[in-house]
């Protein structure tokens, strides 16, 4: 076990930092905000921490904290400006934000190290530290997933109009999402950078959006647990696949496509569905209908399980 850990410490570390990044994109998606600003915040957090650490002799943890806070603050400001945009328009605006961060880093002269980025920012962060930070973030997110908070967030995502009709302040949720996503993204950036010791503008790229989305889609978008599953799969898959060498990226592409097709809720969704079905089977019988229900209304037969329903047959949903 110990030997295994020593050999794989870096992969474990990469799993955790990938998870942090994915969480910063997953949270807004869970609130129904198509924001990829987490990637820009990764850049802001990473660069801030690296600059403070290498150029201003700030210690590891203050540097991480400042990077995180700056990213969170800027992301919140961004949210104030754009939270009313809808769907992919908001997505585009946040991608624009992230790309602008990258360009600013490229043109930041000696402060940001230009196109070569910053080197030698090896902070004193251990895997245990990352684990603790991650636990903190996950605890916060877990609270937002269970109980009334979780229900309200689900409603804000699935049906903002309904949410408002239930008294939920949708705008505030959306704005706070930007703050939280920015903080997590900034933390991911600061931690990753001080672990790797480097950051370059090329990293703060659409590619990172792709990685984060892939993690979320494979694992499941509904919960941090999904992101964890996705992060593990994505980080370890290449190691597992390395024996196929040249075929690796092709197989990788296939797996991602297959996950998108066959796992609507990701691996987590699949597991949940299985558990639900298992429980349903264990329930004595389908609940006894009251007398009035015996009289079925036309067209009102129960629909088939969610996994088999197609878009064409749904009623309402979007309006």
């Amino acid at each position: 076990m110990m030997a295994w850990y020593t050999a794989n410490a870096v992969v474990v570390q990469a799993t955790m930092t990938t998870l942090l990044l994915a969480l910063s994109i997953q949270l807004p998606l869970r609130v129904g905000v198509f924001s990829f600003a987490g990637v820009g915040c990764f850049g802001i957090g990473g660069y801030t921490a690296a600059i403070l650490y290498t150029k201003f002799d700030v210690d590891t943890w203050p540097a991480v904290a400042l990077g995180t806070l700056l990213a969170g603050g800027l992301c919140y400001l961004l949210g104030l400006i754009i939270h009313k945009l809808s769907g992919l328009y908001l997505g585009m605006a946040t991608i624009a934000f992230s790309l602008i961060v990258a360009v600013a880093a490229t043109n930041g002269g000696s402060l940001t190290g230009g196109a070569s980025g910053i080197f030698g920012a090896l902070g004193g962060i251990t895997n245990l530290h990352v684990l603790l930070l991650l636990a903190l973030v996950v605890a916060g997110l877990a609270i937002s997933e269970y109980g009334r908070f979780g229900r309200m967030i689900d409603t804000v995502r699935e049906d903002p109009e309904l949410a408002a009709a239930l008294g939920i302040n949708v705008g505030r949720y959306r704005k706070l999402t930007f703050l939280a996503s920015g903080l997590i993204g900034g933390l991911a950036g600061a931690v990753t950078t001080l672990l790797r010791s480097t950051i370059t503008p090329a990293e703060v790229n659409f590619h990172m959006v792709v990685v984060a989305l892939t993690v979320i889609i494979i694992g499941g978008s509904s919960s941090w647990l999904g992101a964890l599953i996705g992060a593990i799969v994505i980080t370890w898959l290449p190691t597992v696949l390395s024996f196929v060498a040249d075929w690796e990226s092709i197989i990788y592409g296939f797996l991602v496509a297959l996950a998108a097709i066959f796992l609507p809720g990701g691996v987590l969704g699949l597991a949940k569905d299985l558990i639900h079905r298992w429980r349903a089977r264990r329930r004595p019988t389908p609940p006894a209908p009251p007398a009035s229900e015996a009289e079925k209304i036309p067209g009102g037969e129960p629909s088939s399980p969610a996994t088999e329903r197609s878009l064409a047959s749904t009623q309402g949903g979007t309006s």
Partner: protein, 295 residues
Amino acid sequence: MQELLNTLTLGSIYLLFALGMALAWSTIGILNFAHGAIFVFSAFSAHIISEHVALSMPVLILISVLVGAAMSALTQWLAFEQILKRSTNHRSAEMRVLIGGIGVAAIPIAIVDKATASAPFGFANSTYKTEVYESMGLRMTNTSLIVIITGVGIAVALTLWLRASRRGLGLRAIGVDSETASLMGVNRTAMALGTMAIAGGLAGLAGALQVFQLQAMGVATGDQLLIKAFAMIVLGGLGSMAGVIFGAFALAGAETLIFAAKLGTWVDAVSFGLIFLVLLVRPQGIFGRQEVRRT
């Protein structure tokens, strides 16, 4: 004046790429992130064949268009259609189509990367020869002319066709409301497949023409254009072909101006900053229709 001409050429290249993507997105609601990979792979297929036989421009374009159409239709059939079948709501479907596209894209890109060892490829062996025209102090190549005419021509034709024809109506109806469309007797699946084939064909056309225009293509070209095309469509306003035309030339114009101002490394920041500002003022894009809200 020369700047205008250059903007026109660059804009037409962008436009050709974005048209197929916009068509699929605004009619059948598929934002195809494999569009860039199809674009690269189609051009690459034509390149491979041209390495063995010296072919003329129309033949190379035809090969590229056919490969593009086939790949795109195949992607639709094997991936996107399957995703839609298994989706319960639009948001998750949109997202999974996006990811599915990214997954699919990885496959042809890996093949091209391996086959070219990351070196740029082109149609050096083609019988086509670029000529330079010069008049009134303006320079232009025959390729640029072809690119501009094809780009603008197809864009306009597509716009009119979508507006006028019954098929167009059906397609637009799918884009707006798939239930109405099926009531109108539009066969959604076949229509979607056809649309994606056309979109893929446009990707192939764009790929081949870009290689003729720029002489070479790198394997990463598709991805770079993808983000730009996404921006152009959003800038113009989703659902409007006129918007795409505007978006393409606006972005090309902005880039040309930024280069003229010697701010080469700021291109992305300025052009995406502009898009950002436009969205703040017009959240539905320049040509986008305001959603009529009904309860």
